[in-house]
Symmetry: C2
Subunit: 422 residues, 2 copies
């Protein structure tokens, strides 16, 4: 890897201004953002983004799923661009930074290069991926998953929101059903800046997370069938209490993740008792489990441990415990050379940094299966995201954008000595 | 106690016929009964019951809360009658026996005495208490609680169902708002036959439960406040998982009840996670606890143990565990002489029997605070009640009615040697 091009810095005030200017599109009274994908507020921010990219000299293209690609030309247009960016949609009670920082920082990188008169061999492409959040349409990371070939475009276009509106209809309504086939836009590499959405950087007082992995994920649907009976008349030894069995499952998931940690997490996020009543022993209930690790072998061990614990609990309590895996996504291994480029940029810019695993899923995790990809994390306050309380400092946002800038400069072929990654 | 009057038996076929004839008022396709208190089906069964009681020579009176008192005259009308009976309302998906057996068996006792030409010193009063179930109107055992002075009549008359209809309006609609003040009808004693609603008699192959106690009950409302955060990005050691803490509470309740058993039960029947999501660590949830014992001291120990466990869990997990007691009802101690009378009747009729504690609440438990009271249990299949699957055998129903008959005969003053209880 080459040295950082220079002490070139992005314009921190301009980036901060953009973040807060666009936060008005769907801004909530509590200081968050509600900008569901493909809704009217998403159209507003997309229009703003298109105009800003065009003003920065980019050619903006839109694909059949509404993903926006703003291309800053390079000296060698035969080379696919380096993609940078993230997404501009939010959760229903989301914050101002999740996805937005990465997208607007990518725009800021282009503006900074324009201001400094920097040309690159490889073009740069600022991206806004459609529906990363998955709040209005399932799955999350919809457009990047389709880009990576996990779903067909037709499948995704037919997905419906809670009101029965398809993705195709929503795209047409806001005028963002583009002409380009999904996957037509090729990339040399993709780098995504994002808030950490976890507490590690803040806790260790690091400014930059050099993301080398993304956790694999397993999702389960569970059901327990015991026997509903009278809370007053059923002696303890004769009970088949579905909720007591469930409680052991919850604690087993927690213990497994702790025992197989630190690179493992396990969560029971949902549970519903059928016909609950204050004086009835729960007979039937359903629940979900989310298990993650950056190691495939750990996912295997967590899966085996969960099955074993469930079987033991079921046998001992004489209840039926049915835990079914509905999804397994393998861990993401980000591109070694790109990760090194991110690490070098952070180091040479003097930011305290550490390697980190992405706990959440991101568009870059999908894209990593079809191109060299990497991510940059910056701290967020108390690790909170998907929440109107989501917060990050101006200095950390600028630091992340600077690392993005210098990562791009190091691989895009600025000087004759610079080596392009493609 | 005197010997059983004779080998007099109730008419098993007549009782069984009544049970199945009245089951058509609100009968469900699955063989259960849906007869919510004071609804149109309740009016049907009340009309049937009034007519049947009058045909059996009783004078039927109705009090201000709709409770029906059918009085068979005694030789000494200055003595308050011996009350027998139960309730004719059911759960929304209730069975054919809960309450109904006790009410119709009481009618059968009167018919049997009529057929045998038996006169008693003390009058007999067949009772149908309003709203024992509590499904449409809270509280359960509403009319007997008001009778015992736990609530004023005005309070109860103003209670509303889910549609906003008051008890007063519902009584007026079906024509069962009687002229008598609640509590005006006095009793020498009260004896209630009921299905066990638990598994003990069936498990031990006993026909009759001689109920000497009713469990005390404590109800709690609970809430746990942890911190909702991302299931993927929050390391296990940094979590404040409300659901994991709740799971420990559930198991603590179970362990306390087991450790302080066999005369203790503890149940968590309801729990709801706020804004549950598959990939979010639960931050807030609410739940309920039902704890019962026939011993006051055991209730005290359960309460103390629960508070201690909650405090320990809260401190260790750094979450807030708020468990608030909203009701404590002291254990019922049934009248020693009446319990003896029931035991003697069962014994002399040759029915396998055992002393038993009522796990559920019953009108007799409320009445026991203001008069001598006792209960008789018969087995129900698999201990199931409050369910369309509720079942009992004709032989067991008849056995219970025979014990009721001979208990009444032993205390109502049939022969000159018989000693009245009043």
């Amino acid at each position: 890897m080459t040295k950082a091009r220079s002490n070139l810095q992005i314009d921190s005030a301009r980036l901060w201004g953009d973040i807060h200017e666009t936060a008005k599109f769907g801004g909530t009274p509590k200081g968050g953002v509600k900008r569901l994908t493909l809704g009217p507020e998403d159209k507003q921010v997309r229009d703003w983004f298109r105009k800003a990219c065009e003003a920065a000299g980019c050619d903006v293209r839109v694909d059949a799923l509404g993903t926006m690609f703003a291309i800053r030309p390079g000296r060698d247009m035969s080379k696919p661009p380096i993609g940078i960016g993230s997404h501009l949609d939010t959760q229903p009670t989301g914050g101002k930074y999740d996805g937005i920082l990465g997208t607007l920082a990518a725009l800021e990188v282009v503006r900074t290069m324009n201001d400094a008169g920097i040309e690159t061999d490889i073009p740069i492409c600022v991206c806004n991926w459609t529906n990363e959040e998955g709040s209005r349409y399932a799955p999350a990371m919809m457009a990047s998953a389709a880009y990576a070939g996990d779903y067909t475009t037709e499948d995704i276009l037919g997905r419906k929101d809670a009101d029965g509106i398809t993705v195709a209809e929503a795209l047409d309504t806001i005028g963002y059903r583009g002409a380009d086939a999904v996957g037509k836009q090729k990339f040399s590499a993709f780098v995504e800046l994002h808030i950490e959405q976890g507490p590690l950087l803040e806790a260790e007082n690091k400014t930059i997370g050099v993301v080398d992995r993304g956790q694999g994920i397993m999702w389960y649907d569970g059901a327990i069938t015991g026997f509903a009976s009278h809370a007053g008349t059923t002696p303890m030894p004769l009970r088949k209490d579905a909720l007591a069995a469930f409680s052991e499952v919850v604690l087993a998931v927690e213990k497994l993740a702790r025992d197989l940690g630190p690179n493992a997490v396990g969560t029971v996020g949902e549970m519903e008792i059928d016909n609950p009543s204050r004086n009835v022993i729960p007979g039937d209930l359903t629940f979900t489990i989310d298990i993650r690790s950056a190691e495939s072998a750990t996912l295997d061990a967590l899966h085996a441990g969960l099955q074993k614990a469930a079987a033991e609990i079921a046998a001992r309590r004489k209840v039926a415990v049915d835990i079914r895996r509905i999804w397994r996504k393998e861990p993401t291994i980000f591109d070694t050379r790109l990760v090194e480029a991110v690490a070098n940029a952070a180091q040479e810019l003097g930011y305290a940094n550490r390697r980190i695993t992405s706990g959440a899923g991101h568009d870059a995790c999908n894209l990593a299966t079809v191109m060299p990809a990497a991510m940059i994390f910056v701290p967020c306050k108390d690790g909170i995201s998907h929440n109107e309380l989501e917060d990050a400092t101006q200095a950390d946002c600028a630091a992340g954008a600077n690392v993005l800038l210098h990562t791009v400069l190091s691989i895009a072929g600025v000087a004759s000595g610079a080596k392009a990654i493609s």
